[in-house]
Amino acid sequence: MLATDTDILKAAEDWRNSGREVALATVVETWGSAPRPVGSNLVIDAEGNFLGSVSGGCVEGAVVAEALDVIESGKPKMLEFGVADETAWQVGLSCGGTIRVFVEKVE
């Protein structure tokens, strides 16, 4: 079954209540064509398990890595991912858009 936004936020609550450390990532701005609309959520735990998406799978790996930092420091972060260029072989959006993602710890 495909995870809906409701499931993702419910998972964030359930994971936190069961004692797991959790971060929530939200797409806050998009320019050009972007695969997921503003408001889309990704929930991540300290082991790197995640549910939901902020892109078509292009930058989730990088968001998960940053989320682990956010879980450790407790400080929110704003991430920006741009057009795929040479560095974008690792992270970037092949569709040519730019997205900004806010990552925060669930406390």
């Binding site: 079954m1 495909l2 809906t4 936004d5 409701t6 936020l9 419910k10 964030a12 609550e13 936190r16 209540n17 929530l24 939200t26 806050v28 701005e29 998009t30 320019w31 050009g32 064509s33 972007a34 695969p35 997921r36 609309p37 503003v38 408001g39 078509g56 400080k75 929110p76 704003m78 959006l93 092949s94 569709c95 040519g96 858009g97 806010f102 925060e104 710890k105 669930v106 406390e107």
Partner: protein, 245 residues
């Protein structure tokens, strides 16, 4: 996000009530506003506008630059008629995140065996539908082909502001339906809200293909409805484009 905010948000979502989370992206401060409380909030005009379109987005305010995450209820799909097409339509609706309910007074049709994963109500539409909260987040379809079931169901749907209404039947069948509904006192404008023949014209033949055509039309309306002002004119295109890649 504070766990307290997340818990309250999930409570509102479970009750099919809209809410907004306001995040100051400079300092990470957050607060939570229920749809019913936005009139008392300092950001009320921005909140009302975002709630109307159902879209999240950035806003500038006296509090600084904030991100408004808008949570509107999951769309609901109400199907009158526990027929063959409904057996395909219900799982497609589920997959797309709709809360699906099937209403059909014929108990032989409306059985849990035929519809394992959705809510099935084996009652007449005029009894069952008023309890279902057919609201603006609801798509409504009538598929029985039987006027004594479909007509009262459609009459109920037309009295609500659901974003989509569709009814199965050929042009000829629909013409007869229009006559019957007119005779009951419904206006031309009301009746024109019914999509019939139902579904996008993709040459669908099998029940499953017809279900795809119906769900495609509902999806089209869902996204059009978010962009249309209550007065009927299309809202200005958003500055940030969110089309698929």
């Amino acid at each position: 996000m504070k766990l307290d905010i997340l818990t309250r948000l999930n409570t509102e979502r479970a009750a099919r009530r809209a809410a907004i989370v306001i995040t100051n992206v400079e300092n990470g401060k957050q607060r939570f506003v229920k749809a019913a409380d936005i009139g008392n909030d300092p950001l009320r005009s921005a909140l009302a506008e975002h709630l109307r379109t159902g879209k999240s987005g950035m806003a500038d305010s006296a509090e600084g630059r904030v991100f408004l995450t808008v949570y509107v209820p999951a769309p609901q799909l109400v199907i009158t008629g526990a027929v063959h097409i409904s057996q395909a339509l219900a799982p497609i609706g589920n997959l797309l995140g709709y809360d699906v309910t099937i209403v059909d007074p014929r108990t032989a049709f409306a059985s849990l065996e035929r519809f394992p994963d959705v809510k099935v109500i084996a009652e007449w539409p005029d009894q069952a539908l008023p309890r279902l909260n057919v609201d603006r987040y609801t798509a409504f379809v009538a598929l029985t082909h039987d006027p004594k079931i479909d007509d009262p169901a459609l009459t109920h749907a037309l009295s609500r502001d659901c974003f989509y209404i569709g009814a199965l039947g050929s042009r000829k069948t629909h013409a007869r339906r229009v006559e019957r509904l007119k005779a009951q006192g419904l206006s031309e404008a009301d009746i024109s809200r019914i999509h019939a023949p139902i579904g996008l014209d993709i040459g669908a033949v099998s029940p499953a293909e017809i279900a795809v055509a119906i769900m495609a039309q509902i999806t089209e309306r869902l996204h059009e409805a978010a962009e249309i002002e209550p007065g009927g004119t299309r809202a200005a295109a958003p500055t940030a484009v969110t089309a698929a890649s």
